[in-house]
């Protein structure tokens, strides 16, 4: 029909451009390019950036088949894939099953994975990650256990850990030290972000003495929903920041129940976890949010203020509940000694 020889100008573009184009497509459209022509047959298979999100599965409300289909799709796609996979991102509220995910992770670890994002829904997932080239890790979901077994190059970790009560109970009985299991092998860590139950998860298990490594590159720590009534959680935070000489930015959000934490028991910050000459030599910014004004919180802030010689900003945001505690908080804040002459304390009202 076409008498004029119209050139196919797209198929011979350099591989990097084809990859850029295919990466901007939803994964299914990218895979379907394989039936366009002989040249396109395996172009998708060299993608190094795979993103599976809610649009992959069928739009159907029944969880079982959706999960099934998604698992099959991913498994088969991985089977047909060729070449390294540098980024793998999976977001699906439906996905629970553990054996497939373990296998995918094993497969990915052999494919030179550098960035891994897993955002899952409910489910009892025990995750073990062995990925020697992994640099960026982002996890979200209900995890029973997370073990970073071989991830020496990790630079950035972000974990949002949901937990049901029964998992929490099981935790209490665990004997292994979660802190070491998770943070024991990441010497190049630069950024750590933990949400919801992450700090509680780290607090479980026996952890006396110094952690196995110093986090010499750790610059940013953000821990949310830290329960300041739980001494063990505070110890986790302390343990982390005390062994991070390069720490520059710290953000902690509390989740305390004011009524429960009236006794300031054994609040010895200078105790076993911290050497008496503990100094945060590079700490410049501290943000404390959702503060209820409980004694532990105030002691923690006092500790930071007293040991951060280059601190610029200490911002405190009270929690929306318990407005009566605010005056007391302010009074105490005023009194605290500051090691840094430049330190500004800002109290943020809504």
């Amino acid at each position: 029909m076409d008498n004029v020889l119209v050139r196919d100008s797209i198929s011979d573009l350099p591989e990097s451009i084809i990859e850029t184009i295919l990466t901007k497509l939803p994964i299914r459209d990218a895979v379907r390019t394989s039936i366009l022509s002989t040249k396109w047959r395996y172009k998708w298979a060299n993608l190094t950036h795979l993103v599976f999100d809610g649009k992959c599965g069928t739009l159907c409300n029944d969880k079982g088949p959706v999960e099934d289909n998604l698992v099959k799709f991913i498994t088969r796609l991985l089977f047909l894939h060729d070449g390294p996979i540098h980024n793998f991102s999976l977001s699906s509220a439906y996905l629970q099953s553990s054996p497939d995910i373990d296998q995918w992770l094993l497969f990915l670890s052999r494919k030179d994975i550098k960035e891994l994002v897993l955002e899952l829904g409910e489910g009892d997932l025990a995750l073990t990650i062995r990925a020697p080239n992994l640099k960026y890790l982002c996890l979200e979901g209900e995890f029973k256990d997370i073990c970073l077994e071989n991830t020496p190059l990790l630079v950035s970790i972000s974990v949002a850990m949901y937990m049901t009560d029964d998992i929490a109970e099981r935790f209490e009985q665990s004997s292994s030290c979660n802190f070491t299991k998770f943070l024991g092998g990441v010497p190049f860590l630069e950024r750590l972000i933990g949400h919801i139950y992450f700090t509680k998860y780290l607090s479980i298990g026996n952890q006396l003495g110094k952690p196995p490594i110093t986090y010499g590159h750790l610059q940013i720590v953000e821990l949310y929903q830290v329960s300041f009534e739980d001494m063990k959680e505070i110890l986790v935070v302390l343990r982390l920041i005390v062994n991070s000489p390069s720490l520059e930015e710290l953000q902690i959000s509390g989740s305390s129940n004011t009524s429960a934490a009236t006794e300031a028991s054994d609040l010895d910050f200078g105790g076993k976890e911290c050497p008496t000459d503990c100094t945060f030599g590079l700490l410049k910014t501290v943000k404390m949010t959702d503060m209820s004004g409980v004694p532990h919180e105030m002691e923690f802030i006092k500790f930071l203020l007293g040991n951060s010689p280059v601190l610029k900003i200490m911002s405190v945001t009270p929690s929306v509940y318990g407005t009566d505690a605010r005056i007391n908080m302010l009074i105490e804040l005023l009194r605290f000694r500051r090691a840094s002459p430049d330190a500004e304390i800002t109290f943020i009202q809504d």
Partner: protein
């Protein structure tokens, strides 16, 4: 204010002078400037071969706009949207040129535009947009995708096809076969016929039809000619029985009639939702059957011809049709249908 200029040399040898601030947006040019090249007419920067004068002009337009610091994001976006409005050939060339100069923002922009032309489109549409040759066999088209879904409807369809094919194989073996190589064609045609007829007492009808077809095909040259190419190449839009070249005078009637049937089928295929059993509402075909029964042989022959041609077209369309249908039914998954090995009957050369 003095503007500094640099000299660029195109692939064809021509040299032009360009504002330095504008050209510096391209990293490659920037590098060259740092090494001293480009400052004079006699020492111009040689542009990569992908950058011809037309592309250079476009790229410079882009740089010219974006290097002005005061523009708002909205302005930039709006410019970008207008900028990429060009035919696909130029878009591909521009992507290649921008890539060779490492002008990443422009590569991103053009890649996104190209991705938009691919996303959500059927393979035929994509092939048409980019002038891709349709050079995969039916088998190849299905092969990588066969693994990708496990839809129960497709399995049903596969089973039905398999069963019919087996039946036909048996029948063929008993028949006296002169035309060896065309048997495969017959099978697919009969396949679909009987399938479409829903298996209702089609065995008798089928065998008579196929016998007739065998006989007819043996001795005709002229009739077959207008069966094939003109129609089948229009497969992409199966709703128009468009430009039809016929050699026979009575072929004209044939054509119109076929067009009607084809439209008919088009309707049918559109109507059906992804329900299970009847892929083709049997009512619609009752007409055809009624016409068939108890009429004179000449009419019968003509109708046989029509049906055969229609079925052949349907056979070649079927994979893409099914994909379309299934994706309309909110299933964005390609369809593995194992059609027998002959592949497409689309391009039957005589």
């Amino acid at each position: 204010m003095m503007k500094s200029y640099i000299w660029l040399q195109n692939d064809d040898g021509s040299i032009q002078q360009v504002e330095q601030e504008v050209a510096k947006l391209c990293p490659i040019i920037c590098q060259e400037i740092h090494t001293g090249v480009g400052s004079s007419k006699h020492n111009p920067i040689s542009l990569p071969p992908q950058v011809n004068p037309a592309m250079l002009s476009l790229i410079l337009d882009y740089c010219q706009f974006h290097q002005v610091p005061g523009r708002s994001n909205k302005e930039r976006k709006s410019f970008d949207e207008k900028f990429i409005r060009m035919d696909t050939k130029r878009l591909c060339e521009l992507t290649s040129a921008a890539d060779s100069l490492q002008l990443k923002p422009l590569v991103d922009l053009t890649s996104r535009a190209l991705a938009r032309m691919i996303e959500g489109k059927t393979p035929e549409e994509i092939r048409e947009t980019f002038h891709l040759p349709d050079d995969l066999t039916e088998e190849e088209k299905l092969e990588p995708l066969k693994n990708m879904t496990d839809d129960p409807r497709i399995r049903l369809l596969n089973r039905l096809y398999a069963r019919k094919r087996k039946e036909l194989k048996e029948r063929d073996r008993l028949k006296n076969v002169e035309v060896e190589e065309e048997r495969v064609d017959d099978r697919s045609v009969d396949d679909l016929l009987s399938f479409i007829n829903g298996g209702k007492d089609s065995k008798g009808v089928k065998s008579s039809k196929s016998k007739k077809k065998n006989r007819r095909r043996k001795d005709q040259q002229r009739n077959v000619s207008f069966n094939c190419t003109p129609i089948s190449n229009d497969a992409s839009s199966s709703n128009n029985a468009t430009e039809v070249h016929t050699k026979d005078s009575n072929g004209l009637d044939y054509m119109c009639h076929v067009g009607k049937i084809h439209n008919h089928v088009g309707e049918m295929l559109k109507l059906q939702d992804v329900e299970d059993d009847s892929f083709v509402p049997e009512d619609e075909f009752d007409d055809g059957d009624d016409i068939d029964d108890g009429i004179d042989p000449a009419m019968q022959e003509e109708l046989d011809r029509e049906v055969e041609d229609f079925a052949r077209r349907l056979n070649s369309d079927w994979p893409e049709r099914m994909q379309e249908i299934l994706s309309l039914g909110q299933q964005r998954r390609p369809v593995p249908i194992s059609i027998n090995g002959n592949g497409t009957t689309r391009r039957c050369e005589i």
